[in-house]
Symmetry: C2
Subunit: 534 residues, 2 copies
């Protein structure tokens, strides 16, 4: 592990996605998920990966067992999270502490109370015993060869309620051998100026090495983390994509990108920040939360330009409208086609897709008008480049690309007691002058239609066998229209199709979700066939 | 309009959702949408609502025409957004400027270049002419009786590139009669400490009244806004729910809540901040973007507690785990049922629903185990209280509430050339000892099933006529499982049903989206019937 940057030394980037991030509402990670995420975090080059609480639940115990065997970490060290010993028990005799020591991680992050009321009301012990619990547990784990960090829970609230006691907890941990004491804004209500004041006082008063653990309840998690670092903290905790309980933890990517790209602090190994967008999206795949398009730095919209005003200026100089080069985080500038976009956007988008429209003012007007009209009916081309390209080709060549001619389709879904529902679709179409009537089955109506459609067209165009529907999204539009409640509203479907080499997104719209899906399926196949027939 | 707080005086809360917010990717607002949002913003008590750019497109022109007639604003004033006059034309002769003057808003916010490179490369005029454009346009509009604000575009980048010129633009506007000059971080790359430095220097150097317009590209929009206010800005711009181009504008609710609740600044009329959650969600309904559950202050997860550790402590004292009282923004604490929740969460959730489970340890264990098992298969009870309540009743009473017995169902969707797809569902079931075979039609398969189901059950239970399906959400789970691509994956459906008095959410899961929808429909009807039969 020869690193020019000492990841576990002068500055710690400490990820807690697998522990604190997993507390997010709706987020459930299997052991396999946690291992997959740990590999991605290591690829980003973080210094520490907090894997969970070994001994607290079978999943986390299993994670550490497998992580030690299976993960071949290149940059990060694993950290086991757990509590100080129980009141009235020796640290060496506490099985919870033993599980931390034996996790194989080598780094233990101990959560400790630093707010006097929490000690008394939640922990139900005395302030003195709490200090002894910190001292004993840290000393014991250090004696057993562990690196120890302390998470001072509710530190900022505790500091406000009883500064002396909160500081005493930090001093006790540091004197017992904790390498870092991380100040946790557990309830997430801090503001940056307050963080600056507290961190400055803590460093002046204790001399301890300070970390920051921020939550986003006031919308300031990233700024609070930066404020702590500016005041002298050298260990920053966060979660990828800002996952976490309630409003989430500090988004580690935003914090790190601000530190590296705006404040000239080197905190990741060379070049790895350029992997941030790919990694943030890969982790989102594992968690099954769709990536937040507006996420700073790595969101798909983070460098997307829509307004006509902006699009014109971008033709002159892209840097005029970007706060940084998106390549620095592995993201890219995008131009959006929408009814707010003027002719300049359409022209630029055409260029992006390989069409030079600059010579044909009338064509650009026609495309712009058609986009506006279709978006008014619920279509969106911002996310569906392939459907936009088909529209563009139709306007440029005067006829829409078509490789088959559909006569009709039908799909039936039915069930009976104790049987899983089955869907069966029949499609009638003509391709290369042959008529096909094909029936396909599937786990759902769209799946069945897709099977029937590809089976029919595949007889005329064998390359269709490589096509695969890899993503399917449904959105209900305009439920506020008259009669437009719930399932009765307009539906928009986005479908992503892959041929193993690349993938493309198409859009369909309709009152009927099946009809909307059908439109997107047809566009998806047509785009794929055109790609192979050019 | 008797206000104890002078909303248009000492401190401006200036909303730009209808103009800058509407530049968000995927956001399309009709005139009716804009009017509906304006009413909500007025209900929140903002001082100014920027309605759009009259004259720039027919939609915005129409908005101002209708807004002046139809909106009966109690707190806010409308502002029209537009540009300074064209180079080489008198302000009085510029039709764009005339449209601003004639919008009926009475307040004009002029965007002007303050970055020298933008003047030369994007605007293609001289630095001197740009100053003249600012001076003339402000003077003309002031002479015409308008209140004028200036949005200094790209101010922070311009200040860095050419401080003297950037300041000169502000001075020119102020001397010509602009009441506020708003410093725009148009590319959104600023950090709070930098904002503090620039705003302090601007105020010291120009004496102008300063506003802040922040974007979230560095994840610091809220903190940047607060930093500007701390440095002396008295006009803060933002968008509800943080809508806006790329990563969005500063979330106005977070900014205002921090100012009012944490920094003791009165910026909204008394009591209106308590409407923030309702209003933020109502606007989300109009935009058709689902409310962000992790949004600070107003997100459904913002005061949701999941971890067993937290849930136990909350039993002792809720304030130990909240950064503020959620009622302050009209939100509420929630306890989440999930496989990470221990018995304490289930017990508290039961209490929330009116079941005292504290005396029955075995029951709590049974419910906890069943929740974990079902969540493992894709169910979620965090959002589906009604399905959880049915599960709880089943465990408490030993039998699941049932008012009908389904024999089978089938749904067909078909189309032919030139015809819209139609769906037809047949349901066979028994209710009150009578067998019903009913067929329903609909715009989609779930709509048809819902119609057939309610028509059959409605014959036995007439109250079903009042039930209405008001929301329908589909989510594809686990596309990463073997064979689990696209439409072939597990599907989770959430359905919200209303009886006109209240509404409830149920969940269904299955490989087949129709089957998953069916499960949620059945739970929705059962919950509603139980509510009426208790």
């Amino acid at each position: 592990m020869a690193q020019s940057l000492d990841l576990q030394g002068s500055f710690h980037v400490y990820d807690t996605t697998l522990r604190d991030g997993a507390q997010q509402e709706g987020l459930n990670l299997s052991v396999a998920d946690k291992l997959a995420i740990a590999r991605q975090l290591d690829g980003l080059g973080v210094g520490f990966i907090e894997g969970g609480w070994p001994g607290a639940n079978p999943k986390d115990t299993e994670f550490f067992r497998r992580a030690v065997d299976e993960l071949d970490l290149r940059h990060a060290r694993l950290a086991a999270f757990g509590a100080t010993r129980k009141a009235g028990v020796a640290a060496a005799d506490d099985p919870q502490v033993a599980a931390l020591r034996d996790s194989g991680a080598g780094v233990v992050t101990l959560v400790a109370k630093s707010h006097d009321r929490h000690v008394e009301l939640a922990l139900r012990t005395t302030l003195e015993e709490n200090l002894a619990m910190v001292r004993d547990t840290v000393s014991h784990l250090r004696a057993e060869g562990q690196t120890v960090f302390l998470d001072a829970e509710h530190f900022f609230d505790g500091y406000r309620a009883n500064r002396d006691y909160a500081l005493e907890v930090l001093r006790t941990a540091t004197e017992a051998g904790a390498e870092v004491v991380a100040l946790c804004d557990t309830n997430g209500g801090m503001l940056p100026d307050w963080v600056t004041d507290v961190v400055s006082d803590v460093i002046a008063s204790t001399g301890a090495r300070i970390g920051i653990h921020a939550h986003n309840d006031s919308g300031c998690a990233v700024a609070n983390s930066l404020a702590a670092v500016a005041a002298g903290a050298t260990h920053v905790q966060g979660c990828i994509n800002g996952y976490g309980e309630r409003t989430g933890n500090a988004d580690l990517v935003s914090v790190v990108a601000n530190l590296e790209l705006k404040l000239d602090r080197r905190v990741l190994p060379d070049g790895l920040l350029r992997e941030a967008t790919r990694i943030a999206h890969a982790v989102a795949e594992v968690t099954n939360f769709p990536p937040a398009s507006r996420q700073p730095y790595v969101g798909t919209s983070a460098f997307a330009h829509k307004a006509g005003l902006h699009a014109s200026a971008i033709k002159v100089d892209p840097d005029l409208y970007q706060h940084m080069d998106p390549l620095g985080v592995g993201n890219d500038m995008r131009l959006l086609v929408s009814d707010m976009a003027g002719r300049a956007s359409i022209e630029l988008k055409g260029r992006e897709l390989g069409f030079d429209l600059s010579g044909d003012r009338e064509l650009v007007t026609r495309v712009t008008d058609r986009v506006k009209e279709m978006e008014g009916r619920g279509y969106t081309f911002e996310a569906a480049d392939a459907s936009f390209e088909l529209l563009l080709v139709e306007e440029v060549e005067g006829v829409r690309p078509a490789y088959f001619d559909v006569e009709s389709w039908r799909v039936i879904t039915e069930t009976s007691p104790a049987a899983e529902a089955v869907s069966e679709a029949t499609v009638k179409l003509k391709a290369e002058d042959v008529r096909y009537v094909v029936t396909g089955e599937g786990n759902g109506p769209v799946n069945a239609l897709d099977a029937a459609l590809r089976s029919a067209i595949g007889q005329a165009f064998p390359e269709v066998a490589k096509f695969e529907l890899i993503d399917y999204k449904v959105r209900i539009l305009d439920p506020s229209l008259p009669g437009g409640h719930g399932t009765d509203a307009i539906t928009r479907v986005l479908i992503e199709t892959s041929d193993g080499e690349s993938s493309w997104v198409t859009v369909g719209v309709g009152h009927n979700v099946i009809e909307a899906s059908w439109g997107a399926l047809i566009d998806g196949l047509t785009f794929g066939l055109r790609k192979h027939h050019r």
